[in-house]
């Protein structure tokens, strides 16, 4: 059991990181902290995916002239997925912060519960 945990330390670290991020996303009431948590959780998933795709001792799949032996390279698909995922989380975070700025200018607070309570007082 302990040996498994040690040899799969990528997965273990990514699960711990994911837990930290997810807890911050769900439990923190501060909107900025929530989205920091979200980014930590996303990064943990990327780490998990990257470690799935990595094969010890192989090179990045950049094919130069000559060698075309697939066994020399790591699996490029997870890396491609991670790149896409990073782009997505950047754009989502940017959009979220635009919304947070709008809400802060209106209510002068970052506390989500307060924002919801104040917004429900407004007329629909």
């Amino acid at each position: 059991m302990g040996g498994n945990l040690l040899s799969n330390y990528h997965e273990v670290v990514s699960i711990i990181l994911f837990g930290i991020g997810f807890a911050a996303l769900l439990l923190s009431r501060n909107l900025v902290k929530k989205f920091i948590g979200l980014n930590i959780a996303d990064t943990a998933v990327y780490l998990f995916l990257a470690s799935k795709g990595y094969v010890l001792g192989r090179a990045a799949p950049i094919v130069s002239v000559g060698g075309h032996n697939a066994a020399d390279y790591i699996n490029p698909i997870p890396t491609g997925l991670i790149l896409t995922g990073i782009v997505i989380s950047v754009s989502v975070t940017a959009f979220a912060f635009a919304l947070i700025v709008k809400l802060y200018n209106r209510y002068k607070t970052l506390d989500l519960d307060e924002i919801i309570a104040l917004s429900l007082l407004e007329k629909p």
Partner: protein
């Protein structure tokens, strides 16, 4: 013909980009043109797939199967695409007045941009044969859906939008982990490859726990995004505080496309027997039934017409998920029929509610809406048809989706009882909130706010949209046999 699905995905993206530098009117014309073209394209695909009776696969960039990504179109996908494009077009036309009245002038083109992106993403969810493409477009839906909620000025839409955003991101986080695990145990992202590996794993019993966990995570992620009962909390505020076109598209289409993806996963990658073994179907059944009860009871308590319609969506999502939880082909057909029926019905109700409230000084609570159907008969008729149809009164579509579901449930003893109860309870409960609403708008009202009635409410676009909505919902009711036979033909080549 083979590349029509691809064109219909790519065209709205181009139109969305074109909306960026343009003014409101020009982007409105582009959006209409794009949606009309999409409707025609989808109709052509539907006619083609019905004639050939098979589904075809189109490899993007013509890379062979294990690389690249694919889209696949059969009769069911084409029918859903046609429906989604049509409802989207009609929602924009019906909500046009509110878009121009409620939104700031310089926001309108971005709003229409996001509507185009949503249509594109919906079509991807319908056509894609690749799990990661689905994930990317789920995120595109997240951003555009949150934007169209927040586009309406004021604090409430912005607050509702950020809650929606957070919940959606929790959902997509779960979906991403699930995809990572799935790739880890199978090594595939394309659905045909996934199917082979997943079924081999399920048969051999290897990786039992990861398979169970990842399927649960995927279902939970999609359930959060589709607002299935315990995860519904974001829905009512987000859908009620958006502008009319946004509410109609969000409630009618966006929350359905995840369920469609779930049906696709169940059919195409797992197979119904494996889904049943993993107990996912039973979870859908139980939470769907709870959602029906909760959504209906909450809908009854609302004084605001849009809040009521939003809670009604929670109940109807429960109904669809009960149908999926039956886990048979007939159940899936009933679910698809109800997806179609509720897409038309709920979008029509939201558009009609905007007309009714325009005839009552833009108020949205039932006290002010008293007698609104007398002031605006067309919207009133649409609201009444929609309300009766969703409650399940024959000869409208809601009755037929309940009928097909009950027929589908006859063979399965325990699930059948749950479904029978769900059908009865949902009929009674939805009648409990739609009938008072209908009576309220029909009531003779002594105070007639003549000066409040906005003549612009009955623009040509609005009347055409409401007329088309009524026609579509009557079609779904009177020709339900035809629709269900198209769905069954599609399901036969879906897996």
């Amino acid at each position: 013909m083979q590349n029509f699905p691809f064109i219909s995905i790519f065209l709205p993206i181009l139109c969305a980009v074109a909306c960026m530098p343009l003014r409101a009117q020009a982007s409105k014309h582009i959006t209409y043109g794009c949606h009309i073209a999409l409707t025609l394209l989808s109709a052509a695909v539907l006619a083609f797939t019905l004639r050939t009776g098979e589904s075809f696969t189109y490899a993007m960039g013509h890379f062979p199967a294990p690389f690249g990504n694919e889209i696949r179109a059969g009769a069911l996908e084409a029918f859903m695409a046609l429906l989604f494009c049509l409802v989207s077009l009609l929602s924009i036309a019906g909500g046009q007045r509110d878009i121009f009245r409620e939104l700031e002038e310089n926001r309108i083109n971005v709003f229409l941009l996001m509507m185009n992106m949503l249509t594109s993403a919906l079509l991807v969810m319908v056509y894609t044969n690749d799990l990661f493409t689905a994930y990317i477009f789920i995120e595109i839906i997240t951003i555009s859906a949150c934007y169209i909620v927040a586009a309406r000025p004021g604090g409430r839409p912005a607050a509702a939008s950020i809650v929606y955003l957070i919940m959606s991101l929790v959902g997509s986080c779960l979906i991403l982990i699930s995809i990572a695990l799935l790739y880890g145990v199978t090594g595939h992202l394309l659905m045909p490859g996934l199917r082979q590996s997943v079924r081999a794993l399920a048969a051999s019993g290897d990786y039992r726990v990861p398979l169970f966990v990842l399927t649960g995570l995927m279902t939970a992620g999609l359930a959060i995004k589709t607002a299935l009962f315990p995860f519904h909390s974001w829905l009512p505020n987000a859908h009620a505080s958006a502008t009319t076109a946004a509410s109609a598209v969000l409630s009618g289409l966006i929350i359905k496309c995840y369920l469609f993806l779930l049906i696709k996963l169940a059919f195409r990658t797992y197979g119904l027997d494996v889904i049943g073994e993993l107990q996912i179907a039973n979870l859908m059944l139980v939470f769907g039934a709870l959602g029906i009860i909760y959504g209906s009871l909450m809908a009854r308590r609302q004084r605001d017409i849009k809040q009521m319609l939003s809670y009604s969506s929670v109940a109807q999502i429960g109904f669809i998920s009960v149908a999926i939880g039956l886990n048979t082909e007939a159940g899936m057909a009933a679910a698809c029929f109800h997806i179609a029926a509720h897409a038309v019905g709920k979008a029509m109700l939201f558009v009609a509610a905007s007309g009714l409230s325009a005839a009552s000084g833009n108020a949205k609570d039932f006290d002010a809406l008293r007698g609104a159907a007398r002031r605006d008969p067309l919207s009133g008729a649409a609201f009444i048809i929609g309300g009766l149809a969703i409650s399940g009164i024959p000869p409208f579509f809601g009755f037929f989706s309940k009928m097909y579901l009950t027929f589908a449930a006859v063979d399965t003893p325990i699930a059948g009882i749950v479904i029978f109860l769900a059908v009865v309870v949902s009929t009674v409960l939805s009648a409990m909130y739609y009938f008072p609403a209908i009576l309220c708008i029909l009531e003779k009202s002594d105070k007639v706010p003549e000066d409040h009635i906005e003549k612009g409410a009955s623009s040509l676009a609005y009347r055409a949209a409401v007329g088309a909505f009524i026609a579509a919902s009557l079609f779904l009711g009177f020709f339900s046999r035809l629709v269900i036979s198209v769905i069954e033909k599609g399901l036969a080549v879906f897996g």
